[in-house]
């Protein structure tokens, strides 16, 4: 029951539903590629990843997170018990296998597109 990319068939099917990722979702996934993050950390990371082009206010942040949870791209994670202000009360999120697959698929698609573009522009 495995198809291309070595993913389970069901996952392959779900991928069609979530791709292409919106820029916001893409960057949120990138932000948690190295492990679970809490909401504000995600927003900060997205902001620095995009050089401040995507700034997420509280509502936008949690609205997006809710959407991504609903489409199974991410899920709530256990609190890793980090040090820091109110760290104990914060809600943490991590990627699901689907999220990780979607991020991989999306970045490959982007990379191909970038390669073609650069080739033609002669850079």
């Amino acid at each position: 029951m495995y198809a291309r990319n070595g993913l389970p068939m069901t996952l392959e099917h779900d991928l069609d539903d979530v791709l292409p990722l919106s820029p916001t979702a893409f960057h949120v996934l990138v932000a948690m590629a190295n492990g679970p993050r809490h909401g504000y950390a995600i927003a900060q990371e997205v902001e620095s990843l995009t050089d401040g082009r995507i700034v997420m206010g509280p509502g936008t942040l949690y609205g997006s997170l809710q959407r991504m949870v609903a489409s199974s791209l991410i899920e709530e994670a256990e609190n890793p018990g980090e040090e820091g202000l109110h760290a104990g009360r914060r809600r943490y999120y991590q990627m699901t296998p689907l999220g990780s697959a979607a991020l991989r698929a999306e970045s490959e698609r982007l990379l191909r597109a970038v390669n073609v573009a650069q080739e033609r522009l002669g850079t």
Binding site: G39, Y40, A43, V55, M56, G57, P58, G59, T60, L61, Y62, G63, S64, Q66, R67, A70, S71, H86, R89, R90, R91
Partner: protein
């Protein structure tokens, strides 16, 4: 979360607002994420860029944007999210784009915003004025909609004043339907404290006055019903207004219990009115309130309280619960029937009572139609002005929309929806109008400030008290948004017309004469401006006519006037008589004075006195006016005024209390009662005596220059003595010199004697012309503004349409067309539009000005001057606005014009 530390109060407030606004999110979302959202808020707040005051503002903007995108996102299910998110996103983008457009074209923005701001500002200012003077319930009074004004109705007098005994009877017999009945009248007084004396206005009120209006003093107490409405002369107490307290006593908190001298008597200050209550009339803010029972102390030698026929007071009642106007009217009829039965002689002639709701009385109910008429004209005029401004701005937008047609065409062909483009353009125009609304509000603020500071040239505590309040703000906001939609709609629709896509191909070639929309705008603009200008023109003509009316007496410029009331210094009748005799002699002895006299009422004052007469041998028809105007004069007055004697004689010094009662009447009086015969020796019964007519003088103007010829009676003041007289002197030079001498003479007789209304008759007449002058200058300003806007607008449309036709005209010239022909072509087209507008405008003006007829002195609504000069001026302006761009068009270099495409 509340344990978060440390928090500045401001930050805390911002956070509370944020928490409160979270209610915008759907319940599920909030239940799940509320604490996370607040946590994220705190995190953001602690960032360097969002801290401090400036950071607070930045955070507010940031959060506002967050709400705009996130709330619809959270409120929609997954499937539709792209749609709503998209629209909100679009609006944000549109706004950003619009702001960029505004900043990029500063001249366009300034022109559009200033034009519209003028329109909106004038509307807000006029609405504020009308609202403050006429519509707003009496400020500071409790439930002012429950207050009614009561007037005695006589034949020919609908709003008759009340006498103290009549008031007391009404008060005591109306308990079934009125919970309280108060009375008041204005009385000039002289107030002295700390050695400073000034003449001012007081309101003399019944003891339950404040209780009736539901006004609680901010300091001290109100007058006490049951105490201060008894025992005439026994309660020398006074309540002062908040304004007077601050102006005269620097807001001294220990003012209660201090004393002031009023007309030479000591009064104790017992209360200070609250700042929001300005008095029983919206146009005046009297500084001092005195109890009615002190009336005779204020004006000695004359019992004001006893006579039932001596009507001078206003009466106000408060309706009980479940009582309506009809019930009050019925109740008052019953009261009148009782009084008629008990006192038939006093109530024989009274027809009934006129009951007016306080909220509908305006300045005074007798102004009735004039005040609502005047204000509706003003509102209509500024409405027109706003329309003209809208037309102008719409035209600017339309012109720009055409410039952007190519852009729109490309967007349409790329698949942008028409709705999307209309949305973009409407966003722009509403943004414009809100900007203009803010600027307009600023202008209105300046205008109303100026109006509030305006002091009419009449002595007294008059105050326009015009202020902007929530209603005005709401009105302005509504007007701005409406204006935005009005001027945004036409260009938006035009821009998104289906054939716009064709514009991409042909690069925007134009039909000759511009689009239908812009031609429509030119016509509308000319028509509206014409309507506005004709209305203002009529008013200006009325003013001109009013100033040209002959008042009937000679050379007002060389008449000097001064008012003195020795009673205010506590003089009794004999002392006052002596004072006046000496003053008259001294003034007469001045070399610059030709003749001098005294009168009780100056001609062309706003007030008047009338008195019911009985003429033996004359039957009054039912409803015929029996109450006629009069004044008291000294010998020398008619001569000084230059009022000519027709037959008989004028008064002499020996027409005094020792001699027989004699009177002088005017020609109109003689013609009415004794047509075709001499009035000399005839008798008139009034004021409790029979008077013999000894002289007839010419009929002049008495109250206003616009009045019809009126019957008038002169009584010798030496028989019916009054101390508050006006000295009138005919001078043989500059009246100012005589005014100076008169003041010296009065001060020489008594240094403390208050003198007022010291001026020339010409200045005094300015008061009679005040309504016309005010209306004239305001309408003149509006008319000028309208003319400017119209001229600019017509020029704009014409210049633009010529610019658009550059290519077509270039081809014509290249093909050998005469330049004069091209000039004529453009001129004809432009003038045709202007003429259509003129015809429509004239028709509208013809209809509208019929309604204004009643307010114009002597001008026919179809005044030929207003109806010919104004259209001619307008057509001239239009011709110039067409000619300049037309000349440019004729000089078009054909090659350049063709290449430029």
């Amino acid at each position: 979360m509340s344990a978060h530390t440390p928090q500045s109060p401001k930050r805390d407030r911002l956070r509370r607002v944020y928490q409160w606004l979270l209610a915008l999110y759907p319940h599920d979302f909030r239940a799940l994420y509320e604490s996370d959202l607040l946590q994220a808020f705190d995190d953001r707040r602690s960032e360097a860029r969002f801290s401090g005051t400036l950071g607070g503002f930045r955070l507010l903007l940031f959060l506002a944007r967050d709400f705009v995108t996130a709330v619809p996102m959270a409120r929609t299910s997954q499937n539709e999210r792209r749609g709503v998110e998209g629209i909100m996103h679009d609006i944000l983008r549109d706004l950003r784009f619009s702001v960029r457009m505004l900043v990029k074209n500063p001249a366009f923005t300034a022109a559009a915003v200033i034009t519209l701001a003028l329109g909106i500002g004038m509307n807000a200012a006029t609405f504020s004025t009308v609202h403050s003077l006429l519509l707003r319930p009496l400020p500071g009074a409790e439930a002012p909609d429950r207050l009614v004004q009561l007037y005695r109705e006589w034949p020919g007098i609908e709003f008759g004043a009340n006498s103290p005994p009549h008031y007391q009877d009404v008060r005591d017999r109306s308990g079934d339907f009125l919970t309280d009945v108060a009375s008041w009248y204005f009385e000039p007084i002289s107030v002295a404290s700390d050695g400073r004396s000034e003449r001012t206005m007081s309101v003399v009120v019944s003891a339950n006055f404040f209780q009736t209006y539901g006004v609680r003093p901010q300091l001290g107490r109100a007058f006490t019903p049951g105490v201060e409405d008894r025992d005439p002369g026994a309660h020398p107490v006074a309540i002062i207004s908040d304004g007077f307290w601050h102006a005269r006593f620097a807001g001294d908190p220990g003012i209660i219990g201090q004393t002031v001298r009023i007309n030479g008597h000591t009064f104790e200050i017992v209360g200070v009115t609250p700042p929001d209550f300005g008095g029983p009339m919206s146009l005046a803010r009297p500084p001092v309130y005195l109890p009615l029972m002190m009336a005779n102390v204020l004006s000695p030698g004359f019992d004001r309280l006893a006579s039932r026929g001596n009507n001078f007071m206003n009466v106000v009642g408060r309706m009980g619960d479940d009582v309506d106007l009809e019930r009050v009217q019925d109740g008052m009829s019953v009261v009148l029937a009782q009084l008629l039965e008990e006192l038939p002689e006093s109530y024989e002639g009274q027809l009934g009572h006129t009951v007016v709701l306080q909220s509908e009385a305006g300045i005074h109910p007798s102004f009735g139609n004039a005040q609502t008429g005047m204000s509706s004209i003003m509102m209509a005029v500024v409405g027109l002005l706003l329309l003209i401004a809208c037309v102008n701005v719409a035209n600017l937008f339309l012109a720009r929309a055409r410039d952007r047609q190519k852009e729109m065409g490309i967007r349409l062909s790329m698949g942008a929806g028409r709705g999307r483009i209309i949305q973009q353009l409407l966003t722009e125009s509403v943004l414009f109008s809100v900007l203009a609304g803010v600027a307009g509000l600023g202008m209105a603020q300046v205008a109303t400030r100026a109006l509030s500071a305006f002091q009419p040239p009449i002595d007294g505590p008059w105050a326009f008290g015009v202020e902007m309040d929530g209603t005005v703000l709401a009105f302005t906001f509504a007007v701005s948004i409406m204006a935005g939609l009005v001027f945004g709609m036409a260009p938006a629709l035009q821009a998104a017309r289906p054939d716009t896509a064709a514009a991409v191909k042909n690069g925007g070639a134009k039909k000759p004469g511009g689009s239908r929309a812009s031609r429509g705008l030119v016509v509308a603009q000319v028509a509206l401006s014409l309507l506005l200008l004709v209305s203002s023109g009529l008013f200006l003509r009325a003013l001109q006519a009013a100033t040209a009316i002959d008042p009937g007496f000679e050379e007002p410029a060389s008449l000097a006037m001064a008012s003195v009331d020795p009673r205010l210094q506590g003089y009794d009748e004999a002392q006052a008589q002596e004072f006046w005799d000496r003053t008259l002699e001294d003034v007469q002895a001045l070399p610059e004075v030709r003749s001098v006299g005294l009168t009780l009422t100056a001609p062309l004052s706003l007030g008047s006195s009338d008195r019911s007469v009985d003429v033996p041998g004359y039957e009054f028809a039912e409803g015929e006016r029996q109450s006629l105007h009069y004044t008291y004069v000294s010998e020398g007055y008619l001569e000084a005024m230059g009022i000519e004697l027709v037959e008989g004689r004028i008064f002499t010094r020996s027409d005094d209390a020792e001699g027989p009662p004699v009177m002088v009447i005017n020609q109109r009086f003689a013609d009415r009662f004794w047509p075709g015969e001499s009035a000399l020796g005839k008798t008139v019964n009034t004021a409790g005596r029979s008077w013999e007519v000894v002289g007839v003088v010419e009929t002049v103007k008495y109250q206003s220059l616009g009045e019809e010829p009126t019957e008038f009676m002169y009584f010798p003041y030496r028989i019916l003595f009054r101390s508050d007289m006006i000295l009138v002197a005919r001078t043989s030079g500059d009246p100012q010199v005589v005014l100076q001498r008169v003041q010296e003479i009065v001060r020489g007789a008594d240094p403390d004697m208050p003198l007022y209304d010291v001026r020339s008759m010409e200045d005094h007449m300015g008061v009679a012309l005040l309504p016309a002058r005010l209306g004239g200058s305001v309408l003149g300003i509006f008319g000028l503004l309208g003319l400017t806007l119209a001229a600019v607008g017509i020029y704009g449309v014409m210049a633009y349409s010529v610019a658009q036709r550059k290519r077509e005209l270039g081809i014509r010239v290249a093909l050998g067309a005469d330049r004069a022909l091209v000039l004529r072509l453009v001129l004809t087209e432009g003038m045709r539009l202007a003429l259509i507008g003129t015809v429509i405008g004239l028709a509208a003006a013809f209809g509208v000005t019929r309604f204004m007829e009643g307010m114009l002195y002597d001008v026919e609504a179809l005044d030929p001057v207003a109806f010919t000069v104004v259209p001619l001026v307008l057509i001239g302006v239009a011709a110039l606005a067409v000619f300049l761009p037309a000349r440019r068009a004729a000089r078009v270099d054909p090659i350049g014009a063709l290449k430029s495409e």
